[in-house]
Symmetry: C2
Subunit: 676 residues, 2 copies
């Protein structure tokens, strides 16, 4: 979901950019995110070009305008050549118009400036959400509604919700719905909705367009909603004794600018205010070939679609696009050392642009750490040789890049985990707060109607909803030209003249020719899904590849013609494959807010382009259906899901055969100290 004004108090993290960030640009990598100094120059250049004379200009997105892929790849091959120019892509609003502006930082000028006049709007800014939320407080009908309920206005906080699209023709205003909550003894505002009241606010004029107070429902009580440790009262569960990770020689990875090197992996890690983590140019060292081999050109979470299943007036429109509407990166929060990440973590900051174009920073937006979870990367005990026992065991250590995005109520813990074996594991942990509806019910026995959720506590209905995260995975398996292969496991009957068996399964490999061959709903038929490089074979002749190992098979079950589903159509399939196209970045549409679904992955894919032996992008939808339960109240224990990309005939043999176990640490000598 939800509401991005609450993502962070922007002002806390604004920087004195021009004094702190006079860093040289000589060392930059062409994919580095814009620095605060560059962001600041973008602001100056855009404002100086006066693109919308006479109107107040707001910045909704500023990010790196990536050089073309082939330009980057050529530069990688020969880094002595001139680097591609640094350019910024900017979305502004002014005079009710959205602009797409490209700034060339080397030329200090705007090189492209066009008005976007299609449907949908750019990402919301924090500042406009905060402003919209404030309007309620001085709006007489609202204050009357609050006092009618016997509530104290000073304990009311409001949040802005994007409204989606429900078939209205073009020309609708850029609005949010403002809904309010009650603190009064808790900080867990989301557990205390003030149902029935809706303000509709035009973000461009910052005016209340509609107001109604439709019904009165008891505000759920504060008792039991508090989650701050400082406010908890005994009894407590037995505490855990101290536990930590120890790396006396320091980490095994290095970070050079935005380039991370760890054992056999190298990749570029960037921050984008829309996508959050962006992994580029991930390559793995092949010991046999003595070279780094390409795996991923680019990977990031392209959209996060969160439709709720509640038809009531205050809820039906809640079909959020957290990336395109609120900014998954913008909502990223500073990670807390020793809590969000273990003791051996290293942190990186991220930079974004505020509404007026001023750069801000999110300290500790990423943490990078080696994960030592007690797993085993491979082992074998061999006792089949008379007179001897062979035992070889290698513990697993992997590298995690973590970001947490707190999009209003929900906290998404996003891990990218690199394994020495070549596997990349993608995990999302869902925690934080549910969106609950205030309800008249205090016991399930009273319920005789559809309530769209689970009664979690008195007057507290946890609404049914989904989460669909779609990953953009621009795999370049050992080069750009790749194919997508679906290997179906097919039961084959056997005649009794051939074998005592009656059946077995065999693998039927089908290379997807066009996009329609590669749209897959998982779960029904067993299949292995591979991205291969058909031009590269192993010595014995298998095409080199990477295999997608899916996790949950949850997909959207909304009707195809439902408006939210038209916009979030990517959620119907778990797998899509498209030919690489620089402009096809956002699976829910570039202008996701109030979009009408005419520029998204499902639409692009209708062209049914050829995808064989060419530069392709794999899209994977990681889905969760969420039927809340009482354990999710007042705050949810993390529920995790994920998937893997695992090498499949990419290497000639097990690439971790020769790894040595890490040195043993004899820490019995050590006199560690503790603090509670």
């Amino acid at each position: 979901m939800a509401n991005a004004s609450s993502c962070r108090i922007l002002i806390f993290f604004f920087l004195l950019y021009n004094t702190l960030f006079l860093t040289s640009t000589h060392q930059y990598h062409p994919l580095d995110p814009l620095t605060p100094s560059e962001l600041s120059r973008v602001r100056t250049i855009v404002k100086g070009s006066n693109p919308s004379p006479g109107f107040n200009l707001t910045f909704h997105y500023v990010g790196l305008d990536e050089p073309d892929k082939q330009t980057i790849l050529s530069w990688i091959l020969d880094p002595c050549t001139k680097k591609p120019p640094r350019r910024a892509l900017v979305n502004t609003r002014a005079g009710k118009k959205t602009r797409e502006i490209v700034v060339d930082l080397s030329k200090n000028s705007v090189i492209s400036n066009r008005v976007y006049d299609g449907d949908g709007y750019p990402m919301l800014t924090f500042e406009e959400q905060i402003a919209a939320n404030k309007l309620a407080m001085s709006y007489a009908p609202f204050t009357a509604s609050i006092s009618k309920r016997g509530l104290k206005l000073e304990e009311v906080v409001c949040e802005s919700f994007t409204i989606g699209w429900y078939g209205e023709k073009a020309g609708n205003n850029r609005v949010v719905r403002v809904m309010c909550y009650y603190l009064d003894g808790t900080v867990n505002l989301y557990m205390r909705p003030i149902e029935g009241i809706t303000l509709t606010v035009d973000l461009d004029t910052m005016k209340i367009m509609k107001y109604y107070d439709r019904l009165m429902v008891p505000v759920p009580k504060a008792e039991g909603t508090e989650y701050r440790g400082s406010e908890q009262k005994p009894p407590f569960v037995q505490s855990l004794k101290a536990i930590t990770v120890l790396q006396p020689e320091g980490p095994s990875f290095s970070i050079d600018g935005n380039t991370v090197r760890w054992v056999n992996w190298v990749f570029h890690l960037g921050f984008d205010m829309r996508a959050g983590q962006v992994i580029s140019l991930a390559s793995i060292y092949d010991l046999d070939k003595d070279e780094y081999r390409r795996v991923l050109y680019r990977a990031y979470i392209s959209e996060l679609f969160v439709p709720y299943m509640d038809l009531t007036e205050e809820w039906y429109y809640r079909t959020f696009f957290d990336t395109g509407e609120y900014g998954f990166g913008l909502c990223a929060v500073p990670l807390e050392p020793l809590r969000d990440c273990p003791a051996n973590a290293v942190f990186m900051d991220g930079y974004f642009t505020g509404q007026d174009g001023t750069p801000g920073t999110i300290p500790n937006v990423f943490c990078i750490f080696e994960r030592h979870a007690g797993d085993v990367i491979w082992r074998h005990t061999e006792s089949g040789i008379p007179g001897r026992v062979v035992r070889e065991v290698r513990p697993e250590v992997s590298l995690v890049v973590r970001m947490v995005s707190a999009v209003g109520n929900y906290d998404y813990i996003v891990d990218w985990e690199f394994k020495q074996s070549g596997t990349i594991k993608f995990t999302v942990g869902l925690t934080g707060l549910l969106e609950v509806r205030g309800s008249i019910y205090t016991h399930t026995d009273q319920i005789q109607e559809e309530v769209y959720g689970t009664l979690l506590a008195e007057n507290t209905m946890g609404a049914h909803h989904d989460h669909f995260l779609i990953y953009h995975l621009d795999l370049d398996v050992d080069g750009d030209a790749n194919s997508f292969v679906k290997s179906t496991l097919q039961t084959t009957r056997v005649s009794n003249t051939i074998s005592p068996r009656k059946s077995y399964w065999t693998v039927v490999r089908e290379t997807a020719k066009t996009e329609s061959n590669a749209r897959i709903q998982l779960g029904s038929k067993p299949a292995e899904l591979l991205v291969v490089n058909p031009n590269k074979k192993t010595k014995v002749g298998n095409p080199v590849g990477y295999r997608l190992i899916p996790g949950s098979v949850a997909g959207s079950i909304l009707s195809d013609d439902d408006y939210a589903q038209i916009r979030g159509a990517f959620s119907k399939y778990h797998v899509w494959v498209t030919p690489y196209n620089k402009s096809e970045k956002w699976a829910g549409g570039l202008y996701a807010d109030q979009s009408q679904g005419d520029d998204n992955l499902a639409i692009w894919s209708l062209r049914n382009r050829e995808i064989e032996n060419t530069d392709i992008v794999l899209w994977y939808t990681l889905g969760f259906h969420h039927v809340p339960c009482q354990e999710d109240f007042p705050l949810m224990p993390t529920l995790s899901g994920g998937f893997e990309l695992r090498p499949a005939n990419f290497f000639e043999h097990n690439p971790v055969l020769k790894i040595k176990p890490p040195k043993d640490v004899m820490w019995t000598n050590c006199s560690s100290s503790m603090k509670a």
Copy 2:
């Protein structure tokens, strides 16, 4: 699969039981596995009773004959009452007959002794497999076959393979097929099969019944098959720096006999030579109720079915039942500290019975450790309250109970992970060695026929196969009387008079009345699967429950009428529910070896018994389809799968709301030493 003679060289671990294990029996828990001293007494009592006069007696299984569930539950309620008597269940063979013997240890006598004359045989012993393997070496036709191939007999090792059942009528002998491998420069025998030669050995007479040498295929070369660290040659991948887990105050769990207590969990951990880990009486402390509440009465891996998909004469019968044929516990291997388990692990031993009835021990058969993987059990950053930011983060620490069973070539890393949140996570990691077929092919271009696998290296075909582990999960959610509820997520169309939406999903709950209602193939329709206690409700009226969160949705796709599938019919469904029945323990049949599928879960379930509001058992099939790839050669990087049981309205609210983060350890002071 496979071959249990190779599980362990038994003799290494035999104990001088009567000198070392004169432990008192006063402190025992009624579910404790039999001690070496008890096992030894069982041997004496059974031998003394002379159940099969005139015949050589062999022991195939000795384990605790568990007291009745109600007896245990009464004793738990009032531990001052007399403990139930200690009894052993024994399977012997003598004179080609299987006996089921019950020994009462308190009476020092056999209280029941009957001949089993149905189909199928008990578990194989190590000793008889070793004996069968040895026969080849002095069998002239075999030695001729070896020299015909130009191989050195002293480098040949053989393994015994169970033969399954292919429609033969009753009266077939108890036999294995003996297949051989070639070392000569490697310890990785499984990568060097000597194809074409099969010995069929009668285990009861220990005679070769059949021999043929059907075809000659090159033995794959030794080069590249070695996995021992000591034999690896440069270049090496960059080594990891030292990394470890530090718990300066020691672990947060305690082990009292076989009872493990950790934070809010208590459970009994036993070892069984057939099942391996057996978790009993797992209860979780509920802070609100100030009491332990029951979750699991009993849980263990009931069977592990591994069918291969190769129809050739030497392969078609490979449809192994690793638990019932080889003993998942018997094949468990000693865990290596710092490699198989992290530095903070505590180890436990396990005891079994050898063929002559003598007890043996598997040192370090289990490790128990707190897992500190860098995960977050819950968090939230709240920025929606003007003027303040609230951030609360709790790191996750869980408790893992690990066993590794090396059933011949394959190593199964079996983790039972208990979380403070009430979740139990079941994970199996597959590693070790593939079974490969020797092949004439050295390149895929040469292949024009069905080869049943992937060419992994020259002359090395990695055969397609499956792994189906079925977990017996006797959930007692807050008491014995439970129901199984399938909550289907159903798309509902909405008329435009009701809402601007066109669809949403709602939850249709269906309580399974009888067994047929609870057989579920996952993947096709979204559903939540719950075991609830219909007699216990939360304050707001939700039935208390636990939810099954499945992992992979791989299930068997063999034909229903295929012999292996008749025997391993449990693998067709991911979920089964049966009423509790003490005798229904082994989903693939009690006498799995050469069974004809007439005593297994699918057969029991045909009775279609009532399962509502009664003591029920949930069975979950965790499946893997395995299409080998070159990375699996010469040894597989671990591939993991699993599932979770997660509380769902079991607690009134988030049970970990009040946990405190573990104390921070300031280890910068510490002068640790390392060794390579």
